[in-house]
């Protein structure tokens, strides 16, 4: 969903005059602009008070506590444990993204080809996790994955040895991927439903094998949706806290948990702040790097 939002500015830039018949001259437009500012202002004030100011204060604490300087960042990048966790955060997020792409792709494709009734059912299946409380969903995964959980008792019933799922990276990836899957399916679906299937038919009629038609025609056309979904999922996964905290163990700690421990348990505001800044900067840099990939969608499908 956010994929289409991030690209909205690009769309409105393309034709800034659309739908402004009232703005006669530049004076009228300036008045509208002022009015627009006034309407946006209240939301902006709230945003500054509870997002911008808190983030700035964390950044300041990261270089001022216990004393001014970069010692917190030096500590973060100089301690092997932290680097391991940082690397693990990226690895787990990457795995979650891969699992989501592989599961979402066929699902989103099927959504575009089935009849309207079945499509509503499939859309509902995607939306239900959105509506069910996130904590409850994680609780369900605890019940399923724990050593005395549903999966292991089923395995025992079949006479198979139990598998260790909770407090492992596998468990964390399974739980996170399920929570994030809707964010992958929705952008993929919105791109796929715009693909003209006659292009694939044309490739087939020109003698391409089905696999060739898929890989050289359909897949490239659907890639913008894959990129958009993958970026959202990866970025959201980087900041995940609840699922790794409940499903993970000491060997699957992610950066968010480390930040929380530093601040709430050790009262190390400077160190926790530095970690938070690293996490935030990583997220923003990724988003900035990925923005051109997502914008490609408009170039490719813009002709329609």
């Amino acid at each position: 969903m956010s994929g289409s939002d991030a690209s909205t500015p690009a769309r409105s830039d393309a034709n800034p005059d659309r739908g402004s018949p009232r703005s006669g001259g530049s004076a009228g437009r300036a008045a509208l602009f002022r009015e627009g500012w006034l309407l946006v202002l209240p939301a902006l004030v709230v945003l500054c008070a509870v997002m911008a100011y808190p983030l700035a204060s964390i950044a300041v604490r990261s270089i001022s506590q216990p004393e001014w300087g970069l010692q917190n960042y030096a500590w973060f990048f100089g301690t092997p444990v932290n680097l391991t966790v940082l690397q693990r955060t990226f690895t787990i997020s990457a795995w979650v993204t891969v699992v989501c792409v592989l599961c979402a792709y066929p699902y989103a494709y099927v959504m575009t080809v089935v009849g309207p009734t079945l499509r509503v059912v499939l859309i509902l299946c995607v939306m239900v996790p959105f509506w069910v409380s996130g904590v409850v969903r994680t609780l369900s995964w605890v019940l399923l994955l724990q050593d005395s959980g549903a999966i292991n008792s089923a395995l025992r019933g079949l006479g198979l040895p139990p598998v260790r799922l909770i407090r492992t990276q596998t468990g964390v990836v399974i739980g996170m991927a399920q929570v994030l899957l809707p964010f992958m399916i929705l952008p993929m679906y919105s791109v796929m439903k715009g693909i003209d299937l006659r292009l694939v038919q044309a490739a087939r009629s020109l003698g391409a094998r089905p696999s060739r038609a898929f890989f050289s025609v359909y897949l490239p056309l659907s890639l913008p949706g894959v990129y958009a979904g993958a970026i959202i999922v990866f970025i959201l996964a980087l900041g995940f806290y609840i699922t790794p905290a409940l499903l993970g163990g000491p060997r699957s700690t992610m950066l968010s948990t480390l930040v929380q421990t530093q601040v709430l348990s050790l009262l190390q505001w400077g160190r926790g702040g530095a970690m938070g800044v690293v996490l935030l900067v990583a997220t923003l840099v990724l988003l900035a790097l990925a923005a051109p990939l997502m914008r490609q969608r408009h170039k490719k499908t813009g002709a329609r």
């Binding site: 209240p42 939301a43 945003l47 509870v50 983030l55 019940l143 359909y218 709430l264």
Partner: protein, 263 residues
Amino acid sequence: MTMSPFTRVLLGLCCLLVALWLVAPTLVVVPMSFNENKSLAFPPKGFTLDWYANFFSNPEWSSSLFNSLKVASLVAVAATVLGTLAAFGLDRMKSASAGWLRMILLTPMIVPGVVLGIGIYAVYLDTHLVGTLFGFVVAHTMLAIPFVLIAVSASLEVFDKRLELAAASLGAGRWTTFRTVTMPLIAPGILSGFLFAFVTSFDEIIVSLFITSPYLKTLPVQIYSSITRDADPTVAAVGTILFLATTLLIGLGLVLFGRERRT
């Protein structure tokens, strides 16, 4: 696209498995909520409604539900007003700076929850807002504004501005135009923004964990601390109730919208 029967079956199977993966895990809380043992171990034994009774009679649980409903209602109203105003404002501006402003207003969606959590906690400690209703409402409103903005902007995007022009040319004032033309046409967008804002607040956990206090706990915080503290099956009962409530709401919405479209 023509597909061989084999591909078709394979695709269908993949799709079915993913759909099950999306929906089925949540259902596991239902049998656990009737478990007679005071544990969350599988398989559940016997049948009891004790955990449901506990949810409604234990003040810890019922007050957290009440708090969540109170916070979410206030947030839904505040975020809908602010988000709708902002959506209108951005729609008026239609320029490069509007694009930037929109991005800025959407950032709460991507800032990692824990970073936001420690930041807000730091500021609230200084201003004595930890564990206050006002603190919860302001923080959740900030998190909910993007959802309202998206929903309302989407309906403004398809809204035909010439209708406003027509109303104005027929002598309607700006307020009358807004009330009788614009408002009814974008009402679905505002309503869905309202619902999203409510759900966002009702479900918010990470920031809430930081700004909570023993005197003011929301339901997700209570569920989280119950999961981490003990294996009390009441959480399974809560999960079942929440799941049923949302399913009913969605079903009701589908029926209502379906009927509206038909008439």
